[in-house]
Symmetry: C2
Subunit: 195 residues, 2 copies
Amino acid sequence: MVGDTGLRARLVQVGVDLVRSDGAATLTLREIARRAGVSHGAPRRYFPTHLALLSEIARTGFADLTAQITQTLADCPDDPRARLAALARRYVDFGCRDRGMFELMFRHDLLESNHLGLRDSSLPLFEMAVDLISRARPGTGTPPTVLAGALWTNLHGIVELRNWGSLRLATGTDDVEPLLHAALEAHLGPMRPSP
Amino acid sequence: MVGDTGLRARLVQVGVDLVRSDGAATLTLREIARRAGVSHGAPRRYFPTHLALLSEIARTGFADLTAQITQTLADCPDDPRARLAALARRYVDFGCRDRGMFELMFRHDLLESNHLGLRDSSLPLFEMAVDLISRARPGTGTPPTVLAGALWTNLHGIVELRNWGSLRLATGTDDVEPLLHAALEAHLGPMRPSP
DNA sequence: AGGCTCCGTAGACAGTGTCTACCAACTTGA
DNA sequence: TCAAGTTGGTAGACACTGTCTACGGAGCCT
């Protein structure tokens, strides 16, 4: 399966490269086909619709993010709070660095044609967070899914509003570090100064 | 200016109604023109581009949200924490109820054609939050803009991920109340049970 | 060889945003 | 009063999009 030269895989790969280099707006069906060197009708053989292809591209984004976070956690001490902070920092870093892909992954119109797969792709990440937070903050009355959700939404909002440009407007810089630090302190309690 | 029958105002109003009733995807230039009863070229007399019209529509969304929150704060006790909680609840409620408009307001591609106006429309809200949080949590080492930003991003992420559908997936329901409560406790300290 | 399925091409269609030419009505100036 | 100019909208063309359908050429199997 390495170096899969099939058109289906090539289309997805072209899409991934394209969204990374030129942003989410350039991901038209015909442009992807063009860069893959095939006619505009060819993708239809593998993807019933444009959105189905985009969903597949987005799925690789979730896989990539999951892999990055898994790798990050592997190189991390065993303290649940430190691990959560590392996870959080990776998530935000991914969203800021891989802007187009992040935007694609959470596009609302992708879901309607893809009720199952895409949302599920985010579940492993969420479960990591739930597991960590139930160990970092045991004995709270609040269910760990809610605690993890509150943290996740905070991270997600940081990325979203930073990429929207309101950080620069409100705090004078695009640096997410102060916000991230404040968010972690809010959800996990006092942290030592950021690394 | 009441009952302004000019085409410019009518186009914006049609857009507002349309995004509320049919969602953000139906906001094509030609559809707006059609529903306003004019030809597809007419809007060009008032808006140089499609995105300029969309920006104007989004701006009314920010104005509406600002008005709603101002009204909410007017009917609220003087306690900064209670006021912040009310502001937060209104923000999230707006984003969940007025989904299409919320999506439009924070569309990334609207900003490029509108470097100034649109982002600025969100500033008054942010400044309310900064003011309230500097009174609710004085003496923290963290600047109030950062504290307010951390809270705002949390609220924003709650809306975004709820509308994306991950709340239902992660917590089994679309109800934002537990998450909102957890977020408020995280950023403001222990709260009494939600109203 | 004859069928057959796979896989991609090519063209049509309706829809989009933008641009340009046109034109009718109203305002303005001498 | 009448001519000129401005305002505000129409209508059609253009390039582009996603989808659909008819076609064709390999390769394979009996």
